[in-house]
Amino acid sequence: MHPAYSVIFFTVVSGMGYGLAFFLGIGLLDPATMAAKAAYLSALGMIGAGLISSTFHLKNPHRAWRAFSQWRSSWLSREGVMAILTFIPLTTNAALCVLFDIQSLPLGIAGTVGAAITVYSTAMIYASLRTVDAWHTRLTPACYLAFAALGGTLWTLFFDLLSTGSNALQLSLLSGAAIAGALALKLQWRARVHLQVPNSTPETATGLGHIGAVRLLERPHVNDNYLTREMGFRIARKHAAKLFRLHLIMAYLLPIIMVTLVLVGLTFAGFSAWYAVSAGLSLVFHTIGMFVERWLFFAEARHAVMNYYGG
């Protein structure tokens, strides 16, 4: 599948924003601190930037409002509806926090639940497609949720360290657990992709398997078309393997080292706001690692229509 930058940016950045919103909602940061205010604004900023970027890939964005109408059947519509619904408690709590140094727990919980459902809906857009074997699994939403949780804990840890570090110990332990969880799920997801036998083949696509082995002789025309550009993206396996290693190093290995440094510092030397540098670096690495992951998520996925195009 063609890796569209707008969609990669949207899913990675808004995923992290919703992760941060998730932990803000359950009150892990003290709303009186500057850090909490900055965290709320960052969460809203990431979610907003992601949603705006997602409209860049629409060919008629001025009608985007119509996408809220089909939540009964469409995960894309559900995602849109949930994104808007989640904005309500999230922006209210952000305003309360910025203006009055307080936040409401019921609203926070509503935002937390909304954030989780939104991320789940995003993932289900992909997981519900029977045409893409690699995506059509429960592991896809599991990974998306795990990545949002991981990004969210790293951001929350970062902001906590910027203020009083009151929850820093728990948050760094939680970050470690989130890294391990996300890593385990992603490895399982990828192992499944590599073991998979394609659900559809040129034989089933043409129904000619009863005669023999089917091979494309000629495409309908010599140039690319919308379908081959959109669905026919291919990446050499050796590059994919290299990029996946890069993902592992950036998204999990370097962040766990950074988080361990924080943890060691907290345990043996007490709190210092300087630890925020380490947490900040973990975020930078993790974000790069996630862009690589999301690029591969699309680039490696094979669409069933390629059975008609010899790909």
């Binding site: 890939h57 060919k59 809220f68 894309l76 559809s200 696509a205 129904g207 005669i211 078309n225």
Partner: protein
């Protein structure tokens, strides 16, 4: 509404495509584009139409496959491999995933005859329906930014101002090999249903669970050229030149000599 129609009528209009007779001439491809660029919805645009990198939206395309029986030899015409031309357009699936994924309600399946259509005024051009279709039946029009697909020539088949023979999809009307048939596949007594039953018509990619309405008829078994040559001694009646007279007799003798 992009939920699929519930308890819909039993009418299932669709195509039956004969892979035995299709000669791969692409006439249906061209007549489809010709009709639909001026018909339903926006025109079917081409990008860089006279340049080297021309491409555009087409609703019907013909692919060509080579099928090699197990242990079959591939030696040009004499081998066992056979060429099958394969026209493909929307199959108007009963469980159309392209419809249910659409966030706007632009894609829908008609309850009365099962035709799957796009209301272009609602389409935001997100492309998700094209991702959901396993058959490559949907192509984005890059000029209008809306999704295009086969309408089963909904603007022909119900058009009372047309003569009866013309009230079929443009591709069916055009096909010089009569490889395309149009009718109600929900009616077991219709001509198309009988044809499917007779010839063992099948679904494409049944494992995708879309329950396509359109059916394909398999190529008939053939004798490889090598096998046909072996038939020589007992040549079929119509190939015998015995009894030819006059010019034809002379031609027969002359050709035998060469």
């Amino acid at each position: 509404m992009t939920s699929l129609p519930q308890g819909s009528s039993s009418r299932k209009l669709g195509l039956v495509i004969d892979l035995d007779t299709c000669v791969g001439c692409h006439a249906c491809v061209v007549s489809c584009k010709e009709w639909n660029t001026g018909g339903y919805g926006s025109a079917l645009s081409d990008q860089d139409p006279y340049g080297a990198d021309v491409s555009g939206a087409w609703l019907n395309r013909v692919h060509t496959f080579e099928v090699i029986p197990e242990g079959g030899e591939v030696i040009g015409e004499a081998g066992e491999a056979r060429i099958v031309h394969f026209p493909k357009s929307c199959l108007h699936c009963e469980d159309a995933p392209c419809v249910t994924v659409c966030p706007t309600g632009a894609s829908y399946k008609r309850a009365e005859d099962g035709i799957v259509l796009v209301d272009e005024d609602k389409c935001i051009g997100c492309g998700l329906c094209a991702w959901a279709c396993a058959y490559g039946a949907r192509e984005m029009d890059l000029a209008a930014g809306v999704m295009k697909k086969c309408t089963l020539c909904v603007d022909r088949i119900y058009n009372d101002t047309f003569e009866e023979v013309d009230r079929v999809p443009a591709c069916v009307r055009t096909c010089p090999a009569n490889a395309r048939h149009f009718g109600d596949l929900g009616d077991p007594h219709s001509d198309v249903s009988k044809l499917v039953a007779e010839r063992g018509g099948f679904d494409l990619m049944p494992e995708q669970g879309n329950r396509p309405v359109n059916k394909y008829l398999p190529p008939r078994p053939r004798t490889a050229l090598a096998g046909a040559a072996a038939l020589k001694p007992g040549q079929p009646e119509e190939e015998s030149t015995e009894g030819a007279t006059g010019f034809l007799r002379w031609l027969d003798v002359a050709l035998d000599r060469i």
